[in-house]
């Protein structure tokens, strides 16, 4: 087990190194000059060159990358070109909001997805099943920007049940979590349905029925715990999907997380922030996957680590 975790950690470090090289190279090749952005429209060519030298952007790619990497190892993500603040400070100040949103989204997708999947499986082939699967399909394919604005309009503007964007109370959390969770809920509904159908075909369920147990007891005590296992093991992988989603959802709802930070940095070509957020997201995805793999055998003994 420990050897497995060690091996996976080394792999993770290599993945992160690869991500950092690729992102750094892409940003380096970007046909946009951050120095011009910093220097402003009235800058003389001399000022522009001075700033370029101070930031070390006149150095060759590998020199720049090596300097970034060595700073990174000491925990220094650099300073934002536009905000002039420490990137680590900006990310740390926004991480709690993103994590909270992710927790909210996980809760929403499990609550909605698993319930839908369970109901659909037990009523397999019926109109309910078809309606639920169609709904899940819509959930998976609807653009989050549209879902977000729609929820905002209906539940915040028209009905006034929730605040219109912002951050602070549990009420602020509901709509963004729901928007982010709808996509996952669609997947979970489909997975839960097929997993449940699979379990319901098993011999021990037939035995339970033969014993004369009530349908509800069979479902809740025997089928559900087995059907839910492979589904729950997927949560770690969700983090990767969320990382993409939070950029959109946080912008729509004015949620002060790292997705919003990334979006603003991309628009302003603020390279240190883009690099920082990318690396932190990559870390989260890699660790999420690792966690999913480690936890899976504990909740589902049929899976073995190798």
């Amino acid at each position: 087990m420990i050897a497995y975790i060690g091996r996976r950690l080394i792999q993770s470090a290599l993945i992160l190194l690869g991500v950092s090289i690729i992102t750094f190279a892409l940003l380096y090749l970007l046909p946009a000059d951050p120095v011009r952005q910093i220097a402003g429209r009235s800058a003389t060519p001399q000022t522009v060159e001075n700033i370029r030298q101070q930031l070390g952007l006149d150095q060759p790619f590998f020199v720049q990358y090596w300097r970034y990497l060595t700073n990174l190892l000491t925990g220094d993500l650099g300073r934002s070109y536009i905000q002039r603040s420490e990137v680590s400070e900006l990310i740390v100040s926004r991480l709690p909001a993103s994590l909270l949103l992710m927790l909210g989204a996980i809760f929403c997708e499990l609550a909605i997805g698993l319930t839908m999947g369970l109901v659909a499986a037990t009523k397999r082939g019926s109109a309910t099943d078809q309606t639920l699967m169609l709904t899940s399909f819509v959930g998976v394919s609807a653009p989050q920007f549209v879902v977000g604005l729609l929820l905002l309009y209906v539940f915040a503007v028209r009905l006034g049940w929730f605040p219109i964007g912002g951050y602070g109370t549990w009420k602020h959390l509901v709509l963004p979590s729901l928007t982010l969770g709808v996509l996952g809920a669609g997947w979970y509904a489909r997975m839960m349905r097929s997993s449940m159908i699979d379990v319901l075909r098993q011999d021990y369920i037939r035995t339970a029925r033969a014993k004369g147990l009530r349908r509800g007891t069979i479902l809740v005590r025997h089928a559900l715990p087995n059907a839910i296992l492979p589904v729950v093991a997927m949560i770690g992988i969700d983090i990767g999907i969320f990382m993409g989603g939070i950029v959109v959802v946080e912008s729509v709802f004015g949620w002060p997380g790292i997705g919003q930070l990334a979006w603003q940095a991309i628009q302003r070509v603020d390279i240190p922030i883009i690099m920082g957020v990318t690396l932190v997201s990559a870390c989260a995805i890699v660790l999420g996957n690792l966690l999913a793999d480690i936890v899976a055998p504990f909740i589902d003994p049929r899976i073995k680590l190798r």
Partner: protein, 547 residues
């Protein structure tokens, strides 16, 4: 608006002639203004920094003006210069020495008195390359600038502290715009001890002499400004507190305004909601419209065939149906015929420009040897409404036989293509169009139409360089005698007319600003579309629901 500005500019010239102008004594305050109350303002983007030497964007420009003060400022809601931290000033007869007498009793937010040493420190700091100020270039006319910018000196030799309340600034050449430069945020005075205490984080811990103090800044969420009780301009500001909520999409901000949760959406009315707002009388009543010192234009790369032929450029000027483009953006602009916007001094009222005439354009194109047209590329920023405007331009060009392929890219990529001599044949400037830094006609020339801007990475995207006009521009800017201001503006008007003969641009429209305010917000309309305290003059607005 035009009439109003001409009058105020004349008044400003008169004041400059007198050389002295007390600010508070003559200030006309709104008799209905009541002190107290707090308001909520939203912005989409986070506030980057509140360091006056560095901040240069839509959100922080006016915030910095409320936290800090400069030697000069403008009458609220207008482009009329007036002294601010300077109690009075004198200009030498040759226009190269400016002596400012500081107002007594001005205190920084940390309680210390402002002195002339602070002004000198501020100017040394903003021009020092280590500060990386995007505004350093504005101070190029101060003696010793080249040495500081080049790193061989730490202080500007032209700036001298005469006594604790007097500062003398010598210029290396006469500069008619210098008082405007002293009103720019970049010259707003900062206390040395606080800058040194916070280092690069001064922008997050600003300490100035302004009407408000920063009370709270929660990154990515909100900033809270509180009234500075010791403000030198007694009675100001009217509001006790302003909360800026950041990260709010303009469309969400509008919805919140409608629910009464927001007082002013800082980014204005989102284009998608514009018609809906304007067609509802209750909402329309709360809309404030104002001109801004902006021009949207199409550049043609004059070093690239076939745009190296002036006839081709003139033909393109005649081919564009500007009225239709203005309609396309719900009439949120007025059609333009010259680089300067109508509210800018120097604007030629009698100049008619190139009238829309596709037939004449076709004939001119044939004369230039392109009877069958040609194929080219039109670069455009990829956010609405710019791609739609580019499509309208594309259709207009197709009507005279020019096939323009649209390259819709992120802002930074379009800027990079414009700064590359072989990069972009044509660019629609929307989203990146020139908004003047200060209300003077010279501000539309240097970086975007002068030879100095036609360099790799520069902002002169048409790569137009007319050395005769450069010479004329320097001549105009050396006229510092306020009595000759009109003559100078006329010279600038001529420069822009000559540019239009060479037609490196198609000036398309001058954008109007539209914003909204909640029913409780009060104060003159022009404070909400202030041409200089962009976007809102926080010091003078007030609420009408305080007791």
């Amino acid at each position: 608006m035009k009439q109003f500005l001409t009058t105020t500019v004349a008044a400003s010239a008169l004041a400059l002639m007198l050389g002295l102008m007390p600010a508070t004594a003559q200030e006309q305050r709104d008799p209905n203004a009541k002190p107290g109350g707090d308001i909520v303002i939203t912005y989409k983007d986070d506030v980057s920094t509140l360091d006056p030497a560095i901040g240069y964007d839509w959100q922080n420009w006016s915030m910095i003006k409320s936290l800090f003060d400069g030697l000069m400022d403008y009458e609220p809601g207008t482009t009329t210069l007036r002294p601010e931290l300077a109690e009075s000033y004198e200009i030498s007869s040759d226009g190269t020495v400016f002596t400012f007498k500081l107002r007594p009793g001005v205190k920084f937010h940390n309680g210390r008195d402002l002195t002339a040493e602070d002004v000198k420190y501020t100017l040394d700091r903003v021009t020092n390359p280590k500060t990386q100020s995007p505004g350093a270039g504005f101070f190029a006319s101060i003696k010793g600038f080249d040495e500081v910018a080049g790193g061989s000196a730490e202080t500007l030799s032209g700036v001298t502290v005469v006594d604790p309340s007097t500062i003398k600034i010598e210029l290396s050449r006469p500069d008619a715009t210098f008082l405007h430069v002293m009103a720019l945020n970049f010259s707003h005075v900062v206390p040395k001890e606080e800058v040194e205490k916070y280092g690069p984080d001064f922008g997050k811990n600003p300490v100035g002499t302004g009407a408000y103090k920063l009370a709270e800044w929660t990154l990515g969420q909100r900033l809270v400004f509180e009234k500075n009780a010791d403000y030198w301009n007694k009675g100001l500001p009217y509001l006790d507190k302003i909360t800026f909520e950041v990260g709010q999409e303009p469309i969400v901000a509008l919805l919140r305004l409608q629910k009464g949760e927001v007082d002013v959406p800082g980014d204005g009315i989102p284009p998608a909601k514009f018609q809906e707002v304007m067609s509802d009388p209750a909402q329309k009543e709360r809309v404030v419209e104002g001109g801004q010192l902006h021009t949207g234009y199409i550049t043609m790369n004059t070093t690239m065939a076939p745009f190296d032929n002036v006839k081709v450029r003139q033909a393109v000027n005649m081919a564009i149906n500007k009225d239709r483009i203005v309609q396309l953006i719900n009439n949120r602009a007025v059609p333009a015929n010259q680089p300067l916007p109508p509210s800018m001094p120097g604007y030629s009222k009698d100049y008619k420009g190139y009238a829309y005439d596709a037939e004449k354009a076709k004939a001119l194109l044939a004369e230039a040897g392109h009877a069958d047209g040609f194929e080219t590329e039109l670069y455009v920023m990829n956010t609405d409404p710019n791609p739609r405007i580019a499509q309208a331009i594309q259709q207009d060009l197709a009507a005279i036989g020019i096939k323009a392929n649209i390259q819709s890219l992120a802002q930074a990529n379009v800027i990079a293509a414009g700064g590359d001599k072989a990069g972009a044949p044509m660019i629609w400037s929307g989203g990146m169009g020139w908004i003047a830094d200060f209300p003077d006609p010279s501000n539309f020339y240097g970086p975007i139409l002068g030879c100095g801007g036609a360099v790799p990475g520069g902002w002169n995207w048409s790569w137009y360089c007319n050395e005769d006009l450069d010479k004329m521009a320097s001549e105009a800017d050396s006229i510092t005698d306020p009595a000759k201001a009109e003559e100078r503006y006329k010279m600038w008007g001529t420069i822009y007319e000559k540019i239009m003969e060479d037609a490196p641009w198609v000036p398309v429209f001058n954008e109007q600003r539209f914003t909204m305010r909640s029913p409780r917000m009060a104060g003159a309309d022009n404070l909400y579309v202030d041409p200089v305290h962009i976007p809102i003059n926080y010091d003078y607005v007030y609420v009408n629901d305080v007791q």
